[in-house]
Amino acid sequence: MNGTSAPRFGTGRALPGARALALLGLALLSSACGGAIAPPYAATTDAMPGAAPSFAAEAPPTEPASTDSAAELAYAGEEVSGAIRTSEAAAATGTSSTPPRLPPSRLDTPPTQTGSSTPPPTESPAPSAAESSEAVKPLLIYSANLQLAVFETRVTLDAAEKYAKEHGGYLVRRDNTSITLRIPAERFDASLDALAKLGDQLHREVNVRDVTEEYFDLSTRLRNYEVVRRRLEELLQRATKVDEALAVERELTRVTQEIERIKGKLKLYRELVAFSTITLTLQSRRSEQVGPNVPMPFPWLRELSLGRLLSL
């Protein structure tokens, strides 16, 4: 009597498993898809009109966030949104004594104002949601390796650690001959120079990784998963069968785990962008490595050594 337009929840005794599968299929299709959430739902509904009419009635999510980069960033966390959107305020407080938790000036600086070594943000021919309203700021992860010849290794390691702490950074790892520090990104260059002065610099290597695209991809996926989760929660509330509820709950758990995983990764990116990594390797012992310099043809030079001098 209700025909095919009536919701089948609670009436389909014959095919409860099929309904649960249909629900899950929709959720899976949506969550697995990295793009916008609306098209998969619409497509699914069109493809299976009889299987899930209730979805078709409610599914099309009119997500204003999908066309607003600010809203998109908000999914990734208030911190990033704030950091990117409030560049002036962040710049004004960039020298605060407390370690910044947000991506600092490098995030806040428009691409055209970054250093010459930083690549411009990628310009997609078809503007995505993230790029629609404003230019995408490059998210750059800076890291450097410094090799220093020193003596009194421990003193140098102490000095490096102290420097990091005094400048808003922190210690990541330390052993007898090397130390890895995280320094606020806006102090990266100055810190590199300062740390290089702790010894006799033998080698310096700076690396920059642009994670802008990865970051926004993850943000998009996160937003989509959030939508899926809301829908699953709605479905769970309306489920009248235990097996349906269980199936939806399983999917809800999976989606929630995925959301947490993406959030964790986004948080990691934010931290890596906000704090540059500097590794100091201290060379205090005789090195047998062949250096880039041309060896001088004076045999007596090879005899110069403190060890030989003190070997009586």
Binding site: A149, S284, M296, F298, R302, L304, L310
Partner: protein
């Protein structure tokens, strides 16, 4: 009378020893500082002169034929590169020195950890027309710091031809 001659000879010997050491067959003179003893027969190890304190602070001089010819800056740079880049010594300081006899030199001061103990290693380069003189001094940081005056005196008292 005999006693007087003996004491005169002894005085002369003592005075000569106090004035300084002249390395036999070499073209330089250097003073062995108080508290050090000169070690004999160091040639086979490349040293024309080597002396040590009781605590293990060692001073040495190498005499090398000045061939090919180069100026003081060249030879100092060669030594610096060798020790810094090939041997991992940390250059702490570099300073111009001048002996009492007027010979110019460049002293390179390196730091180096031997085991876990910090050491200092000073290499002073002198250049004459015929010879390069490489004066080395090394020991623990504590010893080298405590003996700074004596080390200065050794450099000041060096004479090379």
């Amino acid at each position: 009378m005999l006693d007087r001659s003996s004491s005169l000879a002894a005085w002369l010997l003592t005075s000569l020893a106090a004035i300084g050491s002249v390395a036999c067959g070499y073209s330089f003179e250097t003073k062995t500082p108080a508290g050090f003893v000169e070690l004999k027969d160091q040639d086979d190890q490349g040293y024309a002169y080597r002396a040590t304190s009781a605590d293990g602070l060692v001073i040495s001089v190498r005499e090398i034929e000045h061939e090919p010819k180069g100026d003081l800056k060249f030879w100092a740079r060669v030594v610096e590169n060798e020790l810094r880049q090939n041997n991992g010594y940390a250059l702490l300081d570099q300073r111009a020195v001048k002996t009492a006899s007027g010979l110019d030199g460049i002293q390179l001061r390196f730091g180096h950890d031997e085991g876990t103990t910090p050491h200092l290693y000073y290499v002073t380069v002198f250049v004459t027309d015929d010879h390069l003189f490489i004066m080395e001094a090394g020991g623990t940081k504590a010893l080298m710091t405590a003996s700074a005056t004596q080390l200065e005196a050794v450099v000041q008292g060096f004479r090379g031809d």
